[in-house]
Amino acid sequence: MRYLLVEDNEELAQAVKSRIELDGHAVDHAGTLADATDCLAAAQYDLILLDVMLPDGDGRDFLAARPAGSQTPVIMLTARSQISDRVGALDQGADDYITKPFDFSELEARCRAVLRRRGGAVSNDVDVGTAVFDMTSGMLTSDGQVIDLRNREMRLLEVFVRHKGQILSKSHLVDRLFSYDSDITENAIEVYVGRLRRKLEPVAARIETVRGLGYRLNTK
């Protein structure tokens, strides 16, 4: 997936960029609306993250001025008053909005939700053992049968699939899965790994425990 991040705050932009890149997505960063226009002319994006207040204008006006046929979904990043910005953004054709400061996992969740809603036809299939995992919709299917995954299990699988063969530490998984206002201990991750492990058993995919280091997805 290729993201366009339009944000004038350099530190925030870099932080968001590095976080999204963790998932293997490509992120182009534009600091102004002019840069954003250039980026959009040069490349095809799957999702645009658009700040409301930019040095050379209002993100909402930019949104309203987009060509009518524009299909790329947009999530607004706003630091302004929630009530007054909310409707303005959604009325002008944004798919969602998130208020600064935001939790990275919430930003990810919203990106996923928007891509799932708008991604429609684009599938992003990855083999997991004998099953197929669609990264866009988050659906795991085996022989045409959908394997029911809860949201956290789905995201856990997503993280494993993106780092196939790598050992992932518990703390890394905690950071990726939970927002910080939930008091999750690293032991809690064992519960979710255990569940996912059971669901992956029939499709010949194994989550191995690497003692003292973490977990690894093995799909031989």
Binding site: V16, R112, A113, R152
Partner: protein, 455 residues
């Protein structure tokens, strides 16, 4: 509205007073004309009768003779039922008469008609006298013919005419009052038109008034438009201020939070990681407080002048639910919505904000992998949204503590919050004429009921 009184009423009363004056005047005039006309008619007939009688005077064998021509009296009889008197006096002696009146003490000269009013048996009698000279022997004799009639008929006619004139005057007066009221109202229509135009406006409609006022109202319109302009400017400033304040507070917080998250990811030492978590928590705490304080200010300020749009609570619930689902997904919480149409009137932004705050609370306090249920329905005259979670419930804390500003339940420790969420929700609902009710759900958890009047 009390105060300076009603212009319409004052104008109507003034016009009515003028009408009353005119009515009375016209009645007096008509009455007096009627009386004069009736009297003149009687006088003419009396004179004619006297003349006819005088014509009938003859001189036979040197004596004055009179064969009374009854046609002379029939004319008088035709006018009314009044008693008729006559008296003919030849050379100072009574020739004939029916006794009611005697000839004038001082007979009129030849060829002169005299009219006078005398009193007979308490009645006013109008008498016409003419003097003729009849050639009798030895010389010409002056004969005075007097014909009199009581005036009852005349008074009766006068009274009758006067009564009718009075009736007409009253009708005229009533008509004038009605017309005055209509005139007063129409003249003031432009004023009420302007008032209506102001009253009909939505709270966010602060364009200047476009009505062309009559000359007298132009200064009022101008000052009204100036006031609107000032109000619009100050509202814009307040909203800009709130937005700007939010921006100024949140932007650096966002940076701090992002840096802290990166530091947390790179932290090798568990103690350091814990510090980072505490920083993130503190940032979340303050950003939430800032958000809700500003939302609270916006709500307070918008509630003063509520938008009045037709809305469906089901649609609002749908949008709010969909928007919170990704956040809820992070905890594997399912927001389950069952909505039937529930039309209300009000401010979409505020109702949306109220519901989001309630839902946000529900998701925040719910344990992972539970369900938050949202039901939109109607009950009698109320539109309702019921949000039920599986969280810790209200505990022993009284329900009104939760909706009080900055108050949080005793079991909220460990969850980020400002204590304003339910206050905002309650303020919004109450501004719409509704109520917010909190209760413990039977199977554990909290049940929040937003109760609004049905449109």
């Amino acid at each position: 509205m009390k105060g300076a009184g009603s212009i319409t009423r004052r104008l109507t009363v003034l016009l009515a007073l003028v009408a009353a004056l005119l009515s009375i005047l016209s009645w007096l005039l008509v009455s007096s004309f009627a009386q004069q006309a009736a009297e003149r008619t009687q006088d003419n007939i009396l004179v004619a009768s006297a003349n006819i009688i005088a014509e009938a005077l003859r001189s036979v064998d040197g004596e004055v003779r009179l064969e009374l021509p009854y046609s002379a009296f029939s004319m008088l009889g035709a006018v009314s039922e009044d008693r008729v008197f006559y008296h003919v006096m030849a050379d100072g002696r009574t020739l004939t008469g029916n006794g009611g009146i005697s000839g004038p003490a001082d007979p009129p000269a030849r060829g002169v008609t005299r009219l006078e009013t005398v009193t007979h048996q308490g009645d006013a009698v109008r008498v016409a006298s003419v003097t003729r000279v009849v050639l009798a022997s030895p010389s010409a004799v002056p004969v005075t013919v007097s014909v009199g009639q009581t005036r009852n008929g005349v008074s009766q006619i006068t009274r009758e005419l006067s009564r009718q004139a009075a009736l007409l005057s009253v009708v005229f007066f009533i008509l004038a009052v009605v017309l005055s009221a209509i005139v007063a109202r129409t003249s003031l229509r432009q004023l009420t038109d302007i008032a209506d135009a102001v009253a009909r406006r939505g709270p966010s409609d602060l364009r200047p008034l476009r009505q062309t006022p009559p000359e007298e109202l132009a200064p009022l319109m101008t000052s009204l438009n100036r006031l609107i302009e000032r109000l619009a400017r100050s509202l814009r400033q307040s909203e800009d201020f709130i937005a700007e304040a939010a921006h100024r507070i949140r932007t650096p917080l966002a940076t701090v939070r992002a840096q802290a998250e990166i530091a947390l990811r790179n932290a090798r030492d568990p103690g350091q990681a814990q510090h980072m978590r505490q920083i993130i928590r503190a940032v979340d705490e303050s950003s939430r407080s800032a958000t809700q304080l500003l939302d609270h200010a916006t709500v307070a300020f918008r509630a003063e002048q509520l938008a009045d749009a037709e809305l469906d609570l089901a649609q609002i619930a749908q949008a709010a639910t969909a928007s919170l689902q990704p956040t809820a997904d992070l905890k594997d919480i399912d927001i389950h919505l069952v909505a039937t149409p529930a039309p209300v009137r009000g401010d979409k932004l505020l109702l949306d904000s109220a519901l989001r705050n309630v839902l946000d609370n529900a998701v925040k306090y719910s344990p992972p992998e539970t369900q938050v249920s949202v039901v939109v329905d109607q009950a009698e005259t109320r539109a309702r949204i019921t949000v039920t979670d599986r969280g810790p419930g209200l505990g022993d804390t009284p329900a009104d503590v939760y909706t009080a500003r900055f108050q949080r339940g005793t079991n909220s420790a460990g969850t980020v919050g400002s204590g304003l969420g339910l206050t905002i929700a309650r303020d919004v609902v109450e501004a719409h004429g509704g109520t917010l009710e909190l209760s413990n759900h039977k199977g554990g958890g909290t049940c929040v009921l937003l109760n609004l009047p049905l449109a």
